[in-house]
Each structure stands twice: as structure tokens, then as C-alpha cells.
């Protein structure tokens, strides 16, 4: 009787994604940098902070970010580390959870998504579909991988961190893999007013990071709510600081 390999599909995707990460990362970074002329303000500081707060240590890492455009996770990866760091560290190149409908727009998006460690998800799907996605993320984190997740559950329709839409899946993930480190990432283009598909060409992004250890004394869904709420509150605080620094009245 043969040995059953757990989640062979994800294992194969992980290996292929890792092998091709210099190509996929390079192509996407070149598209963002030269095709769209995006810039990340203080890129060196952001990468140094990432290494100090999370990148130097191995183990599961949940990158929790605010969400305004379809390519937020790409910009975050670009901001956090150069391609060669992802090529060297299998766990550093984070998995993403894009909306299945968005990923299906063009065939080459699906290809890039596969090799870019994307797990397509069904937004506002059934409880069973949500559970399947959670199981995959938990499995990946338990293997010491990194995952980018948007606790707001989708692009914020109000243009600010949206507490109304917060789902508690991120809390359930942390309950299932308690060793997971949490890195909150606030990302916003200087010209971004509300949500959109893409940031405008020539956009300049501000990125701030904050490592945190959410905790709760409650179990079950109450505990998950506590954990998720702490993360979203932190993102909201980071957003408030961004607007204060920018001299914008919220």
C-alpha cells in the first residue's frame, strides 16, 4: 500500500512557484516598475523593517493588509523583499488568496496566479467553500509558509479600513496555527481615493509595517472575533497615522 501524500496539488504548486519565482517576480516587478511606473516610497526602509520584524526568522507568517486594489498583494511582495530573497527562501514568497472571478479575467492571469502562489477563492461563497479555503491556509502555515490575507474580506468600498466587512477567518487561522506570526501591512497609493481595480499609472505607494501578537482568553468564534478585531484595529490605527502624516482630515 502506497504512502498517501497530503495535498499533492499544493505541494506541486509550491515547488513550481518556487522554481519560477525569479521569473514571475521579475516579470511582475518589471510590469509594476516600468509598465505602470509605480514607486514605493522609502523602499529600502520598508525592506529593512520587514527583515527586522519578520523576514529574518523562519516559520509561519500571516501578512495582514488593508485592501483597495486588485494588485495589493503584488505591491506588498515587491515592497517587502527583492526577488533573490524569495528565490533563496521558499517560505518567504507568500501565498495569496485572490477572488476566483478576478483571476479568471485573462488566461495568462490564471497562469501567473498559479506560479505566483495564488489560491483562488470564492468571495461570499458557501460556508463549505470558506472552510476549504481556511483548511488550505492552515495547512500552508503549519508547513511554515507565508500567506498574505485581507481581513476586510475584499476591497474596501468605503476607501478606508472597513470594519463592517471584517470576517473572522483570520482569527480562526491563528487559533488553528498558534505559532503564526502576524505582520500588519498598511499600503496606500498617494493618489488612491477609493477602491479601484488598479492604482493609477505613476502611483507612489506608502507602506508601513507592524508586527503584532494578537491574543484572547476566549475560545471558538468569540476568540476568532477577538483576534481578527485586534488586527483590523491595528490596521485602522496605521491608516489614521498615514492620514495624520499626510495632513489629511479623515
Amino acid at each position: 500500500m502506497g504512502v498517501r501524500i497530503d495535498r499533492p496539488g499544493l505541494r506541486v504548486q509550491e515547488l513550481l512557484s518556487q522554481a519560477l519565482s525569479p521569473l514571475t517576480y521579475g516579470a511582475l516587478a518589471a510590469w509594476m516598475r516600468f509598465g505602470r511606473r509605480y514607486r514605493i516610497e522609502e523602499l529600502r526602509r520598508v525592506r529593512t523593517e520587514f527583515m527586522a520584524q519578520a523576514g529574518n526568522r523562519r516559520g509561519p507568517l500571516l501578512i495582514c493588509a488593508n485592501h483597495l486594489t486588485l494588485i495589493d498583494s503584488l505591491v506588498i511582495q515587491w515592497a517587502l523583499a527583492p526577488w533573490w530573497r524569495f528565490a533563496r527562501r521558499r517560505d518567504a514568497f507568500a501565498w495569496n488568496l485572490p477572488d476566483r472571478r478576478n483571476l479568471a479575467t485573462f488566461w495568462w492571469w490564471r497562469v501567473l496566479g498559479y506560479f505566483g502562489k495564488c489560491i483562488p477563492v470564492v468571495r461570499r461563497g458557501t460556508a463549505e467553500q470558506a472552510r476549504q479555503t481556511l483548511d488550505k491556509v492552515i495547512w500552508l502555515l503549519a508547513r511554515g509558509q507565508s500567506v498574505v490575507i485581507f481581513p476586510e474580506g475584499g476591497r474596501s468600498r468605503v476607501g478606508r479600513v472597513d470594519r463592517e466587512g471584517v470576517t473572522y477567518g483570520v482569527g480562526q487561522i491563528l487559533q488553528a496555527v498558534p505559532a503564526t506570526r502576524v505582520l500588519c501591512v498598511f499600503l496606500r497609493g498617494r493618489g488612491q481615493k477609493v477602491y479601484s481595480d488598479y492604482p493609477a499609472p505613476g502611483e507612489r505607494f506608502v507602506v508601513s509595517l507592524h508586527g503584532m501578537v494578537p491574543s484572547t482568553v476566549s475560545a471558538g468564534i468569540r476568540g476568532a472575533r477577538d483576534l481578527a478585531t485586534q488586527i483590523v484595529e491595528r490596521l485602522s490605527e496605521m491608516e489614521t497615522r498615514y492620514f495624520e502624516d499626510a495632513g489629511v482630515d479623515r
Binding site: A127, E164, G165, V166, Y168, I221, R225
Partner: protein
């Protein structure tokens, strides 16, 4: 707990989460919590936790997943408070 009392408390609990407060005023058993009352689907969990706190009952995930209408919620609460 009788159905009328449960309905009154259920609508009071849902009120802070409902975007369509007018529909809540005339809510019946058939009123759908998400579609008709404009409750964000992500907030259903908060409503179920509020039911637990307010009625002193425990609601498992399977039962929570079945709550679609005001009537579903009232029925579940009447049954659970009767057996509590």
C-alpha cells in the same frame, strides 16, 4: 419563551446591523436577514453571538449556518430556550 417575545428580541438584536431599518419594522418570519434587511453577511456571526449572550443559549456552527430568515432565528431560539 414564546414566539412573539423572541421575535421582538431578535429584531432588537438585528437592528444595529441592519441597513434597511424600515424593513425591520415590518419583519415577518419570511424576512431574509441578509437580502431583505441589508445585513452584511460577515456580521451574521456577531448576531448569532448576540443571540447566545442575550438568550443564554449555545449555538453550534451547523445551527448558525441554517439561520437565513428572521423566522429561522426565532424558531431556533424558541427551541433552544425551551430545552435550556
Amino acid at each position: 419563551m414564546d414566539r412573539a417575545a423572541a421575535l421582538e428580541k431578535v429584531t432588537a438584536i438585528i437592528k444595529p446591523f441592519a441597513k434597511n431599518v424600515e424593513a425591520l419594522k415590518t419583519a415577518t418570519d419570511a424576512t431574509r436577514i441578509i437580502e431583505d434587511l441589508g445585513v452584511n453577511s460577515a456580521r451574521l456571526v456577531d448576531i448569532v453571538l448576540e443571540f447566545e449572550d442575550q438568550f443564554g443559549i449555545s449555538i453550534d456552527d451547523e445551527a448558525a449556518d441554517k439561520v437565513r430568515t428572521v423566522g429561522d432565528a426565532v424558531q431556533m431560539i424558541v427551541l433552544k430556550t425551551a430545552t435550556a
